[in-house]
């Protein structure tokens, strides 16, 4: 089988590199990590790094999560690679060849096209993985796998450098001058002459919980009480992780029926469960249980790092406290839970002369600023009729004009052009109106707003 043989070749290739690796990996004792980087365990000799090159960059995070089972240090190398440290895992998983073969097999079983390569430094492992060939060694590796910028690649080409071995044969001082010290440093990192720090990837955490009540729960009131009590565990979890939660999904299982699903979505992540309890109460209040609830599962969405703020020693007298800042998202989610997501909106100004286009509805928590400049315009009514209402001749006759006309003529470019004369007028009963007359022959009168 082609796949099988390809896999065996890859593993064989990794093994070949493994034999070569200790020869490359030499870390001189005088090398110190550059300032700002972590003091490294990984740059020490006798490390085993496994790099994975992906044909499909979209699965990068998925692969990272998968590999996180085998080691605690997985480093993403976007767009299409990742590298992980395996030396520390060998005691648990045994033989290096077997472990690498296992990772390879598991990823291929999921239908992913991957190329694995092992080396004693992460940079070398990454370079080798890009070769996509099972038998390459570092010295025979094409310099194209280094993915250096075009200027450097062209320079190497003009020097006749094709492999890493060719590169290493060049005099060091000249190389540093012509390539740039940065690239020479990368080469040193690959060869283990320099520390090669990597930042670890942390997969997103989730909270899961499941329980079965002692007896099937019939009423939503009892269910709510049980769930709220259970949510205290989530609170402990969030507190211990210093994390905030955005969504929580609940599956209420019944005997012999499809499960009921509830989704609690907070408008903004929160580190406390009280808002979730409020939402739960709202949703359960509207829920009719199709059958008694036999079991409950809950699963959170991704957790968020919680912004920490220390409490003030003295009681704050005025000014928005953190509770005040959080209050709006809490209010929004409560209203949405009961009234539906479409019930709430915010508004913004739009730079357009046409009155019906000078504003737009936005999501109520939309972060964008408004563009209005106070007092920059002629009088505008506080209420706008979404559809202008035709004025009857009788109503038109009762108007007492106060100001106008203000000609608004715009929009010929998008087919919604208007040409109107706007007036401020009072009707007979004390209301101040914004009316307009269509410019042109028809000259119809319309009511477009009220000066509230």
């Amino acid at each position: 089988m082609a796949v099988n043989s390809a896999r065996r070749q890859t593993v064989a290739g990794a093994a070949a590199v493994l034999q070569e690796a200790p020869a490359i990996g030499r870390v001189s004792g005088s090398d110190r990590p550059p300032p700002g980087s972590m003091p490294l365990p990984f740059a020490a000799p006798q490390r085993l790094w496994l790099a994975i090159h992906l044909t499909d960059p979209a699965v990068l995070r998925h692969v990272a999560v998968h590999c996180y089972r085998f080691t605690s240090l997985v480093s993403l190398e976007p767009p299409d690679g990742l590298v992980m440290e395996l030396q520390g895992s060998l005691r648990l998983f045994g033989d290096a060849h077997a472990l690498i073969a296992r990772i390879d097999k598991e990823l291929r079983a999921q239908g992913m096209a991957v190329h694995l390569a092992a080396a004693s430094t992460p940079t070398a492992a990454l370079w080798l993985s890009r070769a996509c060939s099972s038998r390459s060694t570092l010295s025979a590796l094409s310099v194209a796998c280094l993915r250096w910028p075009q200027a450097q690649t062209r320079l190497l080409e003009s020097l006749g450098v094709q492999t890493v071995a060719d590169l290493m044969r060049l005099p060091r001082a000249g190389l540093a001058r012509r390539l740039g010290a940065q690239w020479l440093a990368e080469l040193d990192s690959a060869l283990g002459r320099r520390p090669d720090p990597r930042s670890g990837y942390r997969p997103p955490e989730r909270y899961t919980d499941a329980f079965e009540p002692e007896a099937p729960v019939v009423t939503t009131t009892l269910l709510e009480a049980l769930l709220v009590r259970r949510l205290s565990r989530l609170q402990d979890f969030l507190r211990s992780r210093q994390a905030a939660i955005g969504t929580l999904e609940l599956r209420l299982r019944h005997h012999g029926r499809a499960a009921t699903r509830l989704r609690l979505a907070l408008a903004a992540p929160c580190a406390r469960v009280d808002p979730l309890c409020h939402l739960l109460s709202e949703q359960l209040g509207m829920l009719r249980l199709p059958a008694p609830v036999a079991a409950v599962r809950m699963r959170s969405g991704p957790l968020f790092a919680q912004a920490q703020s220390s409490g003030s020693l003295v009681r704050e007298e005025a000014g928005p406290s953190s509770a005040g800042v959080e209050a709006l998202p809490r209010l929004v989610e409560r209203l949405r839970a009961r009234l539906g997501a479409g019930a709430l909106s915010g508004i913004r100004n739009v730079a357009d002369h046409r009155p019906q286009r000078a504003w737009r509805a936005v999501d109520v928590l939309a972060p964008e600023q408004d563009i209005s400049q106070p007092g920059a315009m002629a009088a505008r009514p506080a209420w706008l009729c979404l559809l202008p209402r035709p004025l009857t001749p009788a109503a038109r006759a009762r108007l007492i004009f106060e100001r106008g006309p203000e000609r608004i003529e715009s929009g010929w470019w998008d087919g919604e052009d208007v040409a109107r004369d706007y007036f401020v007028a009072r009707d007979g009963r004390g209301a101040r109106l914004w009316v307009y007359r269509e410019a042109g022959a028809s000259g119809g009168w319309y009511l477009h707003g009220f000066f509230g």
Binding site: R334, R338, L339, S345, I347, P355, D370, R380, G430
Partner: protein, 210 residues
């Protein structure tokens, strides 16, 4: 025994405690109309409050009347008693509040929360939630049908949160008693008049309204 009594009483919303005075300090915000200021206690709109406005149709200056108050409440560091953010809630407004006009009044359109509900009961609930949340420094609600019990709940919500609730209702409720702190009617009586029907601690009466 006395501690239990204390805890019982401390949570009772209807009980006014002298030591809570500093906390519930009420601020008067000038209305921008000298004649109106003179009739209101403290020389302006008292915060917190529930204000009831009776009028027949939009466009009689029912919003403009409160612009100085809303602007004051919305400003950062406004001396609200509670920690309110500066959002302004609109529950079931009769038309769309027009962003350019709000901008011209220096009310930031980005701070408006417009809520549309399907029934009067939901509207009242939403207004109470908005007042109690502490997210809104003022909530404007168009609630024509509101029972006495609901009016009391709204007043309590406004007073406890330290915000301002403004209720817009039809003139036909003129004879209905109301727990609102201030009750006024904007009506056309040979020229538009602002009729102060009830002012807690001030003088009811009328004055010409532009």
């Amino acid at each position: 025994m006395s501690t239990r009594l204390d805890t019982l009483l401390s949570d009772h919303p209807a009980l006014w405690r002298a030591d809570a005075q500093a906390r519930a300090r009420r601020v008067a915000v000038p209305t921008g109309h000298a004649g109106l200021d003179a009739r209101l206690p403290g020389g302006g709109w008292l915060v917190p409050a529930l204000i009831e406005v009776l009028h027949e149709q939009p466009g009689v200056g029912e919003l403009r009347l409160f612009v100085p108050l809303l602007r004051h409440l919305g400003r950062a560091g406004a001396s609200c008693t509670a920690a309110l953010t500066s959002a302004l809630g609109w529950i079931d407004p009769p038309h769309m509040p027009y962003a350019p006009a709000l901008g011209a009044w220096e009310l930031d359109p980005a701070r408006q929360l417009i809520v549309r509900t399907a029934s009067p009961a939901q509207g009242l609930w939403a207004m109470e939630q908005a007042l109690r949340s502490g997210a809104c420094c003022a909530v404007l609600g168009w609630m024509d049908q509101a029972s006495m019990q609901w009016l009391r709940r709204l007043k309590l919500a406004a007073m406890e949160s330290g915000g301002v609730g403004i209720l817009y209702r039809s003139l036909r409720w003129r004879a209905q008693p109301s727990p609102a702190s201030i009750r006024l009617a904007l009506e056309d009586d040979e020229g538009l008049r602002l009729h102060l029907l009830k002012v807690q601690g001030g003088q009811p009466g009328w004055l010409p309204w532009q």
